[in-house]
């Protein structure tokens, strides 16, 4: 298998370091390759991957009775490996990856708060997802922790969080949030600024922790798809798709071709709606309301069509295990084709203004620059990475059906500033419209729904879907009775929030809102 040469090379290098690992049953989590190693080698395996320039793509634990199976995903171009190790409850300590992969920082702390595994030598080992809704010694993912928590008492305010403080003459602190003006999600930002210049930004999230991972335990597959659709409301299609894909891979179930085509159609519709909204919102944040209003109008029309054809403006609960909950009506194809043409014409003058308006250029060009190195180190995907010279897209580089038969053009910009993140979105809208037409042209006939077979005990699968915000990776494991035992949806926002903290350096305080909007991390998808 020449395909696995890269893996042999990695294992050989690990062997030179004295790290022994085994590859158990390599196809159980295809297309991801599993690599099992001892807990004491956990850190060295990551250091080796970092030296090879691999991307770190997530960590989660799967609690068992005696130990916890911890997995970390590493990505090398379009290939991925899943490091696995068992951490016994008698001594729940594991080395941290955060020293060689800064991206691991918060996800390890999330695992620490929810599972009770302590990460040794972590640069900031304090709480993250845990505010004060549950006690320090409690860990919600432990089997004996009740789903409803401990009683209905009021959660005290989240005080005494150790924010990093900068001392010096003229340095001051600006606390913003968690409650913001306007209709956005809650999250706290702590700026250290001197004059108008931002020296450091620290985000504090977790205010929308919904206990998704805990609620998922014991649910039926259909209920899990609904739950996954609520991980982040703006990414409902792709999160539901990722969960369904994981379940379908776990049960080795083939989904009807028409359903796959329509899932892609929904995902591209979601991408266009969100990108339109973002472009408008970015312009609005620099006081250019005209584009905002026009984009809001186009987005509204787009979403009304969603409601008309699929019964929900945001397309919630359309993707279901085994296929789709509803089919595209026969006359829908012509309606959609006409829509695509109308949108192409409508966005043209608006995008011309966004692209070439001196007053907008003045604000967007050079603002909030994220270098290619930083984007790589932080594990960014999606429009943030594509604007910073890292053109990776699952739909093209590791295609899943139906994208394996479609031409996917992926924007590749180098500047990494707000203007490029806007331009990536504009290019993606055009690319998605082309994809939508291709999908309609090749839409196969047939059923859109199929029954998910009863899963084997302990069957597990990984879902990998390119959402509009970036790569979504979802892990699902069934229990003995065909219900969900573990669900972990990894939203790209985990890597976008640290990117925001990085790219705001040397910018001025009044430019933060536009930088934030251009990155647009999901609070809900991150807090889980």
């Amino acid at each position: 298998m020449t395909d696995r040469d890269w893996l042999l090379e990695y294992r050989r290098r690990l062997g030179e370091e004295g790290v022994s690992c085994s590859a158990p049953d390599p196809d159980t989590l295809a297309p991801v390759v599993r690599l099992s190693l001892a807990a004491q080698d956990w850190r060295r395996a990551a250091e080796m991957a970092a030296a090879l320039g691999w991307r770190w793509a997530g960590i989660w634990g799967d609690p068992g009775p005696e130990d916890c199976l911890v997995r970390a995903c590493l990505v090398h171009d379009d290939r991925r490996v899943l490091l696995e190790t068992r951490v016994p409850w008698s001594e729940p300590v594991l080395d941290s990856h955060a020293r060689c992969y800064p991206a691991a920082d918060r996800m390890e702390r999330h695992a620490q708060d929810l599972l009770g595994i302590t990460f040794h030598d972590h640069p900031h080992g304090h709480r993250w997802t845990r505010h004060r809704a549950w006690r320090e010694q409690d860990h919600p993912l432990a089997p004996d922790f009740p789903v409803h928590g401990h009683g209905p008492k009021r959660t005290p305010a989240d005080t005494n969080y150790p924010f990093v403080r900068i001392q010096g003459s003229g340095v001051y602190e600006i606390p913003v949030g968690p409650v913001h003006a306007g209709i956005i999600e809650p999250g706290h930002f702590r700026f250290q600024a001197v004059g108008e210049e931002v020296l450091r930004l620290e985000t504090r999230l977790g205010y929308v922790h919904k206990g998704i991972e805990k609620i998922a335990v014991g649910t039926e597959p259909a209920a899990l798809a609904r739950l996954a659709g609520r991980v982040s409301g703006d990414s409902t299609v792709v999160h539901a798709w990722a969960a369904c894909q994981a379940m379908e891979r776990a049960t080795d179930h083939g989904v009807p071709a028409r359903a796959l085509h329509l899932r892609a159609l929904l995902a591209e519709r979601e991408r266009i709606a969100n990108h339109l909204g973002d472009i408008g919102a970015i312009c609005n944040d620099v006081g250019f309301a005209f584009v905002h209003m026009q984009c809001a109008r186009l987005r509204e029309q787009w979403q009304r069509r969603n409601h008309e054809l699929f019964g929900h403006r945001l397309l919630m609960d359309v993707v279901a295990p085994g296929g789709l909950a509803c089919d595209l009506p026969a006359d829908g194809i012509d309606t959609l084709r006409a829509d695509h043409q109308v949108l192409r014409q409508d966005v043209e003058p608006i995008f011309a203004i966004v692209d070439d308006h001196p007053s907008l250029d003045d604000r967007l060009l050079g603002t909030g620059r994220l270098s290619r190195e930083d984007a790589r180190m932080l594990g960014c995907t999606g429009y943030v990475a594509k604007a910073s010279g890292l053109s990776f897209d699952l739909r093209r580089d590791q295609p899943y059906p139906p994208y394996d038969r479609l031409r996917v053009t992926v924007p590749d910009l180098q500047e990494g500033d707000v203007a490029s993140r806007v331009r990536v979105r504009m290019e993606e809208i055009h690319a998605s419209l082309d994809l939508l037409d291709q999908l309609l042209d090749t839409l196969p006939p047939g059923e859109v729904a199929s029954d998910l077979p009863r899963p084997a005990p302990d069957a597990q699968g990984i879902g990998l879907i390119e959402g509009w915000r970036g790569e979504i990776m979802t892990y699902v494991r069934f229990d003995q009775t065909g219900r969900i035992a573990r669900f972990f949806p990894r939203d790209p926002s985990w890597f976008l929030w640290p990117a925001l903290e990085r790219l705001i350096h040397d910018n001025i305080v009044p430019d933060f809102p536009v930088c934030n909007k251009s990155v647009n991390g999901s609070y809900s998808g991150h807090d889980l």
Partner: protein
């Protein structure tokens, strides 16, 4: 009869001052409506700002526990100072008894007083936003104020007076003469007016983003009647600058006597002028994005430069002719 003759002009002056109060929300509503139209929206009704003020006056005024008495007093001081400043600017008639105090230095002083208390109130509660807004407001106004005075001094040199009524009289007496110095001064005053009234591209009055605000950041902690007074004062300030530009540079149509027809013409003409200025402002706010904050000083430096060119132009081209 004598009694009536002395009483009437004072009555007129009072009516004119009240007109500022009454017109201010209307101009704000008109401006919003034009902006909405330019964005292909229908926009709220012209009377919406009146409804908003009415609503705010009916609401409870919540005050932070850390607020000092200054915080409660500031809205009244800001409102009264702004209103008084407005009352010094001739609106529909020029020869009113208030003309004695209608001095440009008094106007600048009253506006500075209002701004001083606004900035103090912004810092009073001790939130980061208030202090940030106050510091930005001071940066903008420290640059805007000299530019404004320079621009008006250009006119004062022609009229040989810093009294607004005398300036308008001089302008009317001279007839329609194109003076380069006036063009420069007009440019400077327009830029200053945009900066001082917190409009795009210097500040964005419609934003909800605390971190980008200037004026709104200072009044973020106000509610109820306090907020109503602050917002009303801001609307009055907009009318004030509109009337200043309209009447000092284009005074034609203003009532020079207390005859009813002259007054009616004066009222109608100033209304049309203000509506037209608002349209121009709405267009510029639609085609421009808000500037990066540190470029605002460059804009105000341009205003100062224009004003200086106006002064120079006056000295070189117009003195002695």
């Amino acid at each position: 009869m004598d009694y009536l003759l002395t009483f009437l002009p004072w009555l007129l002056a009072a009516v004119q001052a009240l007109l500022y109060l009454a017109l201010a929300p209307l101009l704000a509503g008109w401006l919003r409506r034009i902006k909405a139209r330019l964005q292909n929206r229908r926009g709220p009704s012209l009377w919406q700002p009146y409804r908003d003020l009415y609503k705010l006056f009916g609401k409870e005024a919540r005050v932070a526990t850390t607020a000092s008495p200054l915080f409660r007093a500031a809205p009244y001081i800001v409102f009264v100072a702004t209103w008084l400043a407005a009352a010094t600017v001739p609106l529909i008639a020029v020869d009113l008894p208030t003309a004695m105090v209608a001095d440009i230095i008094v106007l600048a002083g009253l506006l500075a007083l209002a701004r001083f208390f606004l900035a103090l109130a912004g810092m009073d509660i001790g939130t980061a936003f208030g202090g940030m807004g106050a510091s930005r407001e001071m940066l903008v106004s420290a640059l805007a104020e000299p530019a404004m005075l320079m621009a008006v001094f250009t006119l004062a040199m022609t009229a040989h007076s810093t009294n607004l009524a005398s300036m308008i009289d001089a302008q009317l007496a001279a007839g329609l003469v194109l003076r380069p110095s006036f063009l420069f001064a007009l440019g400077a005053l327009v830029l200053v007016a945009i900066a001082e009234t917190g409009r795009i591209p210097v500040d964005n009055p419609a934003t909800h983003l605390e971190l980008t605000m200037i004026h709104e950041a200072m009044i973020l902690e106000y509610s109820g009647r306090h907020l109503a007074l602050m917002e009303w004062a801001a609307q009055i300030k907009l009318v004030l600058y509109g009337a200043l530009i309209a009447n000092v540079f284009f005074p034609w149509g203003i009532a020079q006597s207390t005859a009813p027809t002259a007054l009616a013409t004066g009222a109608l003409v100033i209304l049309l002028k203000l509506l037209a200025l608002a349209v121009a402002l709405a267009i510029s706010e639609t085609v421009l994005a808000k500037m990066r904050f540190f470029r605002a000083p460059a804009l105000l430096n341009l205003a100062l430069l224009l004003a200086l060119l106006g002064l120079l132009g006056h000295v070189i081209l117009e003195v002695g002719s």
